[in-house]
Symmetry: C2
Subunit: 637 residues, 2 copies
């Protein structure tokens, strides 16, 4: 089965990946880009920002260069994510030059791999005696997992045997070193990811040892919370991350087994990568207990710990989940990588359950908290995706030193940019799903889905317009096509006969052609947060279709927290092809409340003056210089 | 001149100091109280919370006991602040038992003092080779300053010669060790306080060397920002506060000389202690440049960086000022000690300038952000004084791990409780001021002020009632009496003839009796924050007279952020002698906005239902168990 995206909106993003992000990131990883690298927090000089050095580390590990390792201990993963993104791009767009670069990188990785299969340039170069001895902080298996993902993707795209053989050699070495048997390491990595990689390698090869290894890592985690600390104590290398030992066990999801957890907790990206693999394991194994645990965590996140943008991680301290209904909008984290993790978790849950609610969240994250992580050209990136910024006061507060109003060119901890690239380049995998003989349309992205005996074409101007035309050519037996009814949509119409189940409108597609017109009412609506979310009390967010909107200072003047959206104000729409690569702006007659006094505290009532309010899609913010932004706006009678 | 407080409100506080706080704190400092000591932040096990050990450290330093130092490096200052509070209490209320305790403590301090005058139990016990070699973190002169303050107070209260001789011996040793001369240390303490102590000793003794020493410390600071780091590098003791070296120079007000600064910055208590001494220096020296610098910093704080409670320090990170108009109400610090520092700074500015605006702030802090630091019995204390608390979500967020909803019995870093005690016990010093032959009434605290040729009696039910009767008996020549017109007061009346100048209503008091009736309109009013304070946009605070009011969950139900104060709602008042030691509560017909849906984000409009709103004085919050609290409430048409 093959999917080809034709959507103007998303084709642009995929073109950006191909034309900008892959060449740009190749240069950055090769230390050839003339850019300024920033720490993801202001005033944090513990992050190496001199250069990337990612490819150079491989050259040194391979013995082709002299030198020392430079960068984060997990710098290798930047290269692997680039390779994975290149793989997806090559599958859609064969490109000899890109493939030559990727082949060269694969050769380099192969050269850096040790004879026994071990692969991690930091430990090969700097600490060969300490391999797998400091798993809390080493990220060795985290990097390994990213390589396995990249290798599978690159093999699937190009049939490149060597990359698969490097991957199997690495995976085999891991299977040899880890597991419940005596003499093996009874533990796991401080950062989940290897589990995803092993399961992908299992799906490709069918080799059950990879499945078993992943199952061990997933189900063993949290059974022995002292594992990390004990390992560190027994090893004599100085701490790589001196503060990491102070973090609670929950940071690593190491406080309890997944099957016992009710809440998402700890580092958001770690948590979501664990969930992604766990949901895949539930599907592969049919284990109901694992499935139920995945559903519990999913419900906890989406019903109690998720921002309206689909962002997760409420605190910068540990880049972590905090707890139910704690959703501050000015100090949140919402890391771009967590958005990636949320999308992959959603996709696995969708495969596992066939419920549209998972696709709803997948879409929410995709159109909002994911692509807010990059500028419109794919050359500047956010690590943190705030719901409001105050460029005048945020930089003063060390508790907000992670909140930036402008995207940096590159980040000292560069996990996010190539993660965005690989997700956008593989977007084809998220639109449709064939499950139990049924066909599901999960995302309304204009595209063609082709199988041996079917061809489905969907066309729309989504996300700007809610009319979707679907043409099904069925050359085989009748099947049911489920068209997702988005949860954001209060009114919709579907031509012809259908029945609603699991959040989909099901249409029977007999052999031959079936035409479906699906229309979603896409007027702007206000969204309110749960009564328990104190940060959003008295405020509304504005959404239109899947898009969360926001206000920026450049459109709305200074001190936008003084703007008010009257309860009865109606929205007008304006499609602006010239603005921010073409967006639909929303407008309402609002109020500005000011006292214009210089006093800090005053008895003087605030004066209300009319103010024209302009909203733009959240993903497009911070593309017009530094200015204020807010998603939640005060609402009044 | 002598002042005797008769105010029911404040006499109660002074009784609490005498009857509860001094005996209780004596027991705590002697490790005899059966209490739980808490770190000032949750999950911070770097704070020693096993016991106080403050007096025991002196016994060990004096060679009367074997053992190690225990507690914060500045634990000595807890004992000194207790002694200072005892001194003020003894001046008003002679008490043989208390004096015996204090005398014994003075003897112990004398025994712990080294032959050359050096006094600091940490270094005497643990690091005698490192005296004055790690001033950034050592707090030696900080502790010394607190001892000088205590000694002056105790000498003034009791005429105790020995305490003065210990103090002079210490001050002389400091003068010998520090200063611009070759061979002396060209530096100053990491935490300002010695400057206040030296100036008090100068005021008492007239010895100009103490003035010169204070002047040197004050004006030298910030001229050589590398001083601290250089000293630490040259000394080989492991860091006492390992993270302190990461703090910026501004934390210590070491980034620039005071005379060049435009903004309050760094650790709030440090900043305010510096200002207190600096304003005293301006008065003593008549130096206009120093005076102007004090006014600049004062204006910056009160016009741009102060909470409505008079609290200061917007961030827990470094317990610091952040910058103009950054005034988050949920993550602020507002340390109780900073309230003390703000009051002493205000008093010095008042002495320096005779402007009522300084007394306005003194009163604001006193009635709100200061006494909120203790419970109504004086046995539980806040380090941090929040403007809103959410007991369900605050504890989840590590960025708010300093925000507590209930006052602990004692704090591992116990600077605040004895600081409260000494300020409350010395409240007499803040009510009146004789300046340039004029008499000022700054606080409306029922009391008698007696001099050799005058007797002034003021009576009121302040802060509950705004009628103040003042009786002046003048047995000398005519003088002018200035009655402060509070800035919170929009309408007032004063009997007889007067003229208004510098924020005071001036009444000529000829020889003989003068009766003055001063009436301030005390109805509840709404206060609005400056347009630039985003945290307070759309919200009002409620004040009545000098008191800031707040809402607590116990009176207003759950999720109080959903409550709204209609613009037109009027307040009713209810004096409740039974409640919280007698308070006047405010009530208004408000609105509760809820959707009652379990969804995290919903299209469902919030329903408005009537809600009776109850406000209590902010200082009295958190005396009825754990519940929500907010000072700022949403306002709507």
């Amino acid at each position: 089965m093959k999917v080809r995206i034709t959507s103007d909106f998303w084709k642009r993003y995929q073109d950006i990946v191909r034309e900008n992000m892959l060449p740009y990131q190749w240069d950055v990883l090769n230390d050839r880009a003339d850019i300024r690298i920033e720490g993801e927090r202001r005033n944090d000089d513990s992050i190496p920002t001199g250069k990337s050095h990612a490819f150079e580390n491989f050259r040194i590990a391979a013995g082709k260069k002299e030198g020392r390792f430079y960068g984060m201990v997990f710098q290798d993963s930047d290269a692997y994510k680039w390779l994975e993104a290149a793989a997806y791009s090559l599958r859609n767009h064969p490109d000899k030059e890109l493939q030559a670069k990727a082949d060269a990188l694969v050769d380099l990785i192969g050269d850096a791999q040790e004879a026994d299969g071990y692969l991690d340039t930091y430990f090969t170069i700097e600490a060969p005696e300490h391999k797998y001895k400091r798993l809390m902080e080493s990220h060795e298996l985290y990097c390994g997992g990213h390589f396995l993902e990249a290798a599978v993707a690159y093999y699937e795209a190009t049939g490149h045997e060597k990359v698969l053989s490097i991957a199997r050699k690495l995976a085999d070495q891991i299977c040899l070193k880890f597991g419940p048997e005596p003499g093996k390491i009874h533990g796991y990595d401080g950062h989940e990811e290897i589990e995803i990689g092993l399961l992908r390698l299992y799906h490709l090869t069918g080799d059950a040892s990879y499945l078993e290894m992943a199952r061990y890592f997933l189900l063993e985690r949290g059974k022995n919370p002292d594992f990390f600390k004990k390992q560190l104590k027994e090893d004599d290398l100085p701490a790589i991350f001196p503060d990491m030992g102070k973090l609670p066990d929950s940071y690593f999801q190491n406080d309890m087994p997944f099957l016992e957890a009710d809440q998402a907790r700890g580092h958001a990206v770690r948590m979501l990568y664990q969930c992604t693999a766990m949901a895949d394991l539930a599907l592969i194994s049919g284990n109901e207990e694992v499935k139920k645990a995945c559903e519990r965590i999913w419900d906890n996140i989406t019903e109690k710990q998720m921002y309206i943008s689909g962002g997760t991680g409420q605190t910068a301290i540990g880049e972590s989940f905090t707890g139910d209904y704690d959703l501050p909008t000015d100090s949140m984290y919402c890391e771009t990588c967590a958005a990636v993790g949320m999308i992959t978790f959603a996709r696995q849950m969708l495969c596992l359950t066939g419920q549209a609610k998972y696709a709803d969240i997948m879409e929410r994250v995709l159109y909002n908290g994911l692509i807010s992580g990059m500028d419109l050209e794919g050359k500047h990136f956010f690590y943190v995706n705030p719901l409001e910024v105050h460029p005048k006061t945020d930089p003063l507060d060390p508790g907000k030193n992670h909140v930036k109003a402008v995207r940096p060119s590159w980040l000292g901890c560069a996990c996010c940019p190539p993660n965005l690239a690989r997700l956008l380049a593989s977007l084809e995998q998220y639109i449709y799903l064939k499950r139990d003989g049924n066909f599901l349309i999960n995302l309304f992205i204009s595209s063609e889905w082709t199988g041996s005996d079917f061809h489905i074409v969907q066309k729309s101007d989504y996300p700007w317009d809610g009319s979707v035309s679907i043409l099904v050519e069925n050359r085989g037996e009748a099947f049911s096509l489920g068209v997702r009814i988005p949860s954001w949509c209060d009114h919709w119409k579907l031509s012809g006969k259908f029945e609603v189940r699991d959040g989909y409108a099901w249409v029977l597609c007999p052999s031959g052609e079936t035409k479906i017109d699906f229309t979603m009412d896409m007027q702007a609506v206000r969204v309110y947060a749960n009564d328990k979310v104190s940060a959003c009390a008295g405020k509304a967010a504005v959404m239109r279709g899947p898009l969360v909107y926001c206000m920026e200072g450049v459109d709305n003047g200074r001190e936008i927290s003084n703007l008010v959206l009257p309860v009865k104000a109606e929205f007008t729409e304006n499609y602006r092809p010239d603005l921010l690569n073409g967006i639909l702006t929303l407008h309402a007659d609002g109020i500005r409340e000011t006292s214009e006094t210089k006093e800090l505290y005053s008895h003087r009532k605030k004066q209300k003056t009319p103010a024209s309010l302009t909203f733009i899609p959240y993903y497009a913010w911070a593309n017009r210089g530094e200015n204020e932004m807010q998603v939640w706006i005060r609402e009044e009678n």
